[in-house]
Structures are given as structure tokens and as C-alpha cells.
Amino acid sequence: MEDLFEGYTIGPWWDEMLESPSYPRKASLGLHEALRSLSAADLEERCAERDRSFRDRGITFSLSGEERPFPLDPVPRLVSADEWAVIESGVAQRVRALEMFLADVYGRGEVLKDGVVPRRLVATSRHFHRAAAGIETPNGVRIHVSGIDLVRDATGEFRVLEDNLRIPSGVSYVVENRRTMARVFPELFVSHRVRPVADYPDKLLASLKAASPRRARGEPTVVVLTPGVHNAAYFEHSFLARQMGVELVEGRDLVCRQNTLYMRTTGGEQRVDVVYRRIDDDYLDPLHFRSDSLLGSAGLLNVARAGNVTIANAVGNGVADDKLAYTYVPALIDYYLGERPILANVPTYRLEEPDQLEHVLGRIGELVLKPVDASGGYGLLIGPQASEEEIDAAAVAIRANPRSWVAQEVVQLSTVPTKVGNHLEPRHVDLRPFAINDGERVWVLPGGLTRVALPRGSLVVNSSQGGGSKDTWVLASDNPHFGGRDVDGVERTAAAALAALPPYGAGPDLGPALAANQQQQQSGPPCSAG
């Protein structure tokens, strides 16, 4: 039988499964052995089972407007208990520091007065929303959910690539990938002690309830606010609402009245306490942000200001997660926590600083250039893979607007064996762990979205750029005092079927788009000096 690993090569990077083509790493011994016992035809059969599983549950991903099955590679990515301990504590540390930074920036501004972060960074951020200043957070949480993107460098060290503190997506695929894998490789879940991911929606709901402004007055009402079925992440919005057992609403289902938020239901209006919104700040409240937005709810921000609703994640978090703010996070960890960062950044240059700009201009061909504001891998320039024309154009662009770009050293992302055709090849991956802050502690889902760059040699893993994914198996520790002994209940993940989404009653049409009440200031010189 031909070995699936035939011809597998390891370059100048870290391979997550193999130390060398014939020596698996300790945690991967069992998985490697199991994969070697499979023929190409066996693997093909497992993939057919995978596709059936996704199709049965209607799970797709929208790529540039086209619905495709979510690409899950059949080979899982393993994270050992020791490795996970570092990730878990490092992500939690980062979230704690970023929470304090946001509270500070929208509050007293000590970090700016102390000169740790220039005020200009905040003042020029497109995501610094002055309208969010003074809004109290009932339990001090602004980053209810975060996705901290990690990569693993050639030495095997995990590094933070970017922080996502607004509306990080992908967690539904973590849960669904696991359900599918339980069908594809049931025997591997028996031989591996994989920590469960299925309780994410419960943890999310608990944290949203903990953030309610009305905790003392009975059970809070939580809703998930979606831009609608045409949004690329609509599947996730409906998934989370269903799993949490809360209503999935659109802006037109909500109404703010006398600084209280209500949703319209078939049974009348019901007061809402917590909005888990999956709509960008710009579209959330046309009174304060884009006045042409029909996706949000007019007056929502002032309902939050009045203390009558919690918006999760909080408005204005983007000031802390653009790629320029990222460069200050190690300093913020030191400033707020007096700790050293457990997870390092990728070395990054700020192009607004003239010496760093000059340095970068001489090395564009060796670096990665990223637009500060964009996400999802859009606008990225990978120097070593760029043409001379692209490099020249990038030099002009960053000289013209240095605030809009950062430059990063290239990280040789780690690889994991990935099915390509009828055998396995190394493909580069990253990892997005999801963290939930309930105000008491920052809980990191043991797992996360492993994204795969499918073209050979590619370092761009974003699903919006055609990347794939892997199920991420965080292994439980053998030491009962460290990690958990909770083995993933395969039956539990495989059994839950997706219930049909109940149709949601639309509210009365309030007429055309919103119009503006405004007036010009018209005074002139005094008409008479009498």
C-alpha cells in the first residue's frame, strides 16, 4: 500500500506533526500512525463522508458572493496540553490588557497622558468612536468575544499576528468541523483525549447574561443581531442564536423607545437587555453613525448610554485592534499588568516613524505590508512573492500615507499535513483561538479555527482569500492537576441535529429611509451697534 506521506518534505519551517519526514512529534504519534494505515482510497471515502455531513447540515461559506461547502481538511491539527497552556494564558493576558486599554481610552485617557501610546494613534483611528465615550459597561467588559490570530514561527514559538476585538467570526466552523470530524474519524476520538468545543454557545450565553444591565431583575433577554441572510457570516449568526436558544433579529425587528430597546415579536414587544451584534459599528445606529444604514437600530447607542441595554462587543473596540494599535500591545501588557507578554508579536514596523519608514523602504521585498484598517487578508503585499512593479507601487503608497500601513517580518508559518489530491503535503496554517470574557475570567475555547493556505507555499490563510480549515484538537493533559480530563463526547457532538430556524416576524414598515433634522448656524455681524 502506498503511504499517504510519500514524498512529504519539510522546509525551513516548523511542521506541527513531523520533526522530520519519518519522525512524528510525540503528541502526534498516534495520529501519524493512524494516517499511515490509511490508503488513498480510504481517505477518499472519509472525505466523501465529510462532504455528506456538511451537505446534510447545509453548511456553506460565501466566497466572493458564491456559496461553497466549507473546506475542511480531513487531517486534524493537534495542539498538546503544554502548548495549549501557553496559548491559553497568553491570549487571556492579551485580552485583559486590551480591556484595560479600551476602558482607559474611552475613559480617563491615562495611557495617553503617560505617553505610552500617542494620542495621535487614537485620534487618527477610523474606529475611535467619540460617541462611545462615557458609556458604562455593566460588568466592565467590552471584549465579550475576541479572536486572537496566532502563527507559529520556524522555532515553534506561537506569535500573535493580529487581534480581532470587534466581531471575530469563525467559531461556528470550529463547532461544526468537530461534529463532522466525529463522523469522519470516530476511532481517533477514542484514541485521543480531545478537549470539547461544543459548549462554546453556553459559555457565550452565560457571558452575555453576565453583562446584562438588569442582572438583578430576573432572567435577561439576549438577542443576536445580524445584518441579514446576505451577510457572509449569516450561517454563524443563525447557528449561535439557535445554539444559545435566543432570538436572531435584524435591525427592523428592533425599536428604541424612551431609551429602552424592544424587539417586535408575534406576541408583542419584548424588552431586550443584551444585543450580541454581528453588525459593524458604522451600521449599528444611524443616529450616531452612518445615517443611511438600515441594518441597525436608531437610538441604540443612547439606550446603552442610559444603562438599559448592553451592546456586545462594545462600540469602538476597533481602536484597539487595528494593525497599528497591535504594535503597542506588548507595551500595554507591561503598562497595565506589569507583566511580560506570554505571546510575542511578529516584529512590526510603524511607518509613521521616519527611521522605520526608511528601513522598510529599503526592504519591501523581504517584508509583508499590511493596510492598517483592512482585515481578511485584503490589500496584503507579501514582499518575497511580489513583482518589481508591485514593490514600486507599494513604496509610493506607503510614502503617500504612512499611517495607513505597517510592515512585518515574514514569518515562515508552520505546516500541517494536508490532503492534496490523493496524498498528504505540508500546507501553512494559522490559528484563531476564541476567548470569552464574562467579567470574572477570560475563558479560551480549547480549540480554535485552524486556517490553511491551500496553494503550495502560500502564506495567506484567510477564508475570504480561498483558504481552507482544519479541526483543531487540543489534547487533555495526562496530569489531572493541569488541563482537564474531560474527553470529548463524540456521541454528544454527533447527535445534535440542526433544528430548522423559525421564521421571524417582521415589524411594520416605517416608510422610506431616514431623513435628517438639522440646521445651519447663520449668525452674522451685529446689525446695529445700538
Binding site: 444611524p286 422610506p512 431616514l514 433634522n517 440646521q519 445651519q520 449668525s523 452674522g524
Partner: protein
């Protein structure tokens, strides 16, 4: 010398057909400062709506309210009694080295950056340096203010609420909002932190106590010269006891007296009246 002034600012919106829902924020409450005490202030709304009162990022008092009863008119009235102080001379002590110090430039960075109403304009950049090259920033502020007055004709109706400084400058006319925005462009170009200031101006230098006169909402500028110093580029007079300060920000968008949205018919008529009475 200080004055006590009673202000009454009425904004009356009349709609062509019934409005079913309306969301608004009123910035009509004078701000307390070292040169102005607020003795009384109140905002009333018709149809009645219980407002949320809060202080925004710029330290302006805001009344936020929504009206859900069907209505054809919305009337928002801001009333206050304030005590204002006499004019101060611009601080000549502050030199360019203070105003341009990196920590000062960072502290006031958001008041040095271009905005939609006060955007970057290459032609105004050269002009700013021609007009504003002076020994002290205070002289530059005075020169810029005088230049704006010479370059612009005061003519209501030639600009709208949305007109930018550059548009107004190109046509050479506008109202106090445009004079203030143009001044901001030039001062910021010179590296002088500057903010848009809105409020009221009592039109009479020798106002009789108890006499109510028609005024208008007014706008001027404050420049940072070691401390915030006001300058009124529209009429060139010192900012003193006749000026009532309500709100400050980067430009008009931060201080709009009434900002809102409504579902329903078109706006048929907007009437804004300001009445000012010197009471002491």
C-alpha cells in the same frame, strides 16, 4: 465687566406629512467655564418626550430623545441664564516653540487634523503661511481672523449647513459657520490647535437691561495659545460678555444644535429663532 444673559433658542420643524418616529440629540445647553457660569438651563421638547441628558466627549451637555407619538411639528426649545465675562486679550506670551512642542501637538492632535468641514486644501496651505507668518501665534491668529473677514462676504443663503470651508472660500461668501471653518483650516495648517465653538452673540454693545432682542446661533473659533483663546472671525470683535458659549468640537458636526432622524414625511419648514435678553 460681566453680563447676565437669558437665552431662548427655539427650533421648530414642520413636516409635510405625519412623522411616526423621530430620534434626536439637542446641544443647546451653555457650557460652564472659567469665563461663563450657567445659572439656569433647560431643554423642552414638544411633543413631550423624556430626554436622556448626558455630557459628550467634547464636554457638551446633550439631550437625547425619541418621539414615537405621530406628529406634524417638532419644537425643541433651549432656555438658559448665563453670566458671561468680559473679553480677554490674546495671550502674547506663548511662542511658536510652545505651540509646536511635540507633546502639545500630540495632546491636541484631533484639533490639528483636517475634517470634512475643514479639509486639506493645497491652495489654502500656501495662503496660511503667507497670512500667518508672525512673531507669535497670537499675532497669527489675529492675522488669520482678519484675512478671513477680508476674503469672505457675509451673505446668508449663499451656503448651506453642509458647505465646507473650501467651498465657501472659493465663492467668497458665507455665514459665521463658514467663517469659522475657514479660520480652522488656516490655523491648523499653521500648527495651532483650533476648535469650532458654537453659541450665541448678543447683537447690542450697549444692551438695555430687560430688553429682548432677536439673535441667531453663532459660531467662532478657539485657538490654543498656552490656553484656549477665543477669536470671532465673522465680526472681528473680541469675544466677551456678549458671547454665550454652548459647545466645542472639531467642526460643526460635533456641535450641531439639533441632530436627528425621523421616519415619515418630508420636512416642509424649519424655523429657528434665538432670543437674547440681558437681565443684569
Amino acid at each position: 465687566m460681566s453680563w447676565r444673559i437669558a437665552t431662548r433658542h427655539v427650533s421648530s420643524y414642520r413636516y409635510a406629512s405625519t412623522v411616526f418616529a423621530s430620534y434626536n440629540e439637542a446641544r443647546m445647553t451653555p457650557v460652564a467655564s472659567h469665563r461663563q457660569s450657567v445659572l439656569e438651563s433647560h431643554v423642552s421638547i414638544r411633543p413631550t418626550a423624556p430626554p436622556l441628558r448626558y455630557v459628550d466627549y467634547w464636554a457638551t451637555t446633550v439631550y437625547a430623545f425619541d418621539v414615537h407619538e405621530p406628529h406634524d411639528n417638532l419644537v425643541v426649545t433651549g432656555s438658559s441664564v448665563v453670566e458671561t465675562a468680559g473679553a480677554e486679550v490674546l495671550n502674547e506670551d506663548a511662542g511658536w516653540e510652545l505651540v509646536h512642542r511635540p507633546d502639545v501637538q500630540d495632546r491636541y492632535s484631533e484639533l490639528l487634523l483636517p475634517t470634512p468641514y475643514a479639509p486639506l486644501e493645497p491652495a489654502l496651505r500656501d495662503l496660511a503661511h503667507d497670512v500667518g507668518t508672525s512673531e507669535t501665534p497670537a499675532q497669527a491668529v489675529a492675522s488669520v481672523s482678519a484675512w478671513v473677514r477680508s476674503a469672505m462676504r457675509y451673505e446668508p443663503g449663499t451656503t448651506q449647513v453642509s458647505t465646507s470651508a473650501v467651498e465657501a472660500w472659493r465663492q467668497g461668501s458665507g455665514v459665521c459657520q463658514d467663517f469659522a471653518h475657514l479660520t480652522l483650516v488656516l490655523l491648523r495648517e499653521l500648527g495651532i490647535p483650533a476648535r469650532y465653538t458654537s453659541g450665541y452673540l448678543h447683537p447690542r454693545v450697549a444692551a438695555a437691561i430687560g430688553e429682548t432682542v432677536k439673535g441667531a446661533s453663532h459660531a467662532w473659533v478657539e485657538a490654543w495659545l498656552g490656553s484656549w483663546q477665543p477669536v470671532d472671525p465673522t465680526n472681528g470683535e473680541p469675544v466677551g460678555e456678549r458671547h454665550v458659549t454652548v459647545a466645542r468640537g472639531r467642526d460643526y458636526a460635533d456641535v450641531a444644535p439639533l441632530h436627528g432622524l425621523y421616519h415619515g414625511g418630508a420636512l416642509e419648514d424649519l424655523e429657528v429663532t434665538v432670543e437674547l435678553t440681558r437681565v443684569a
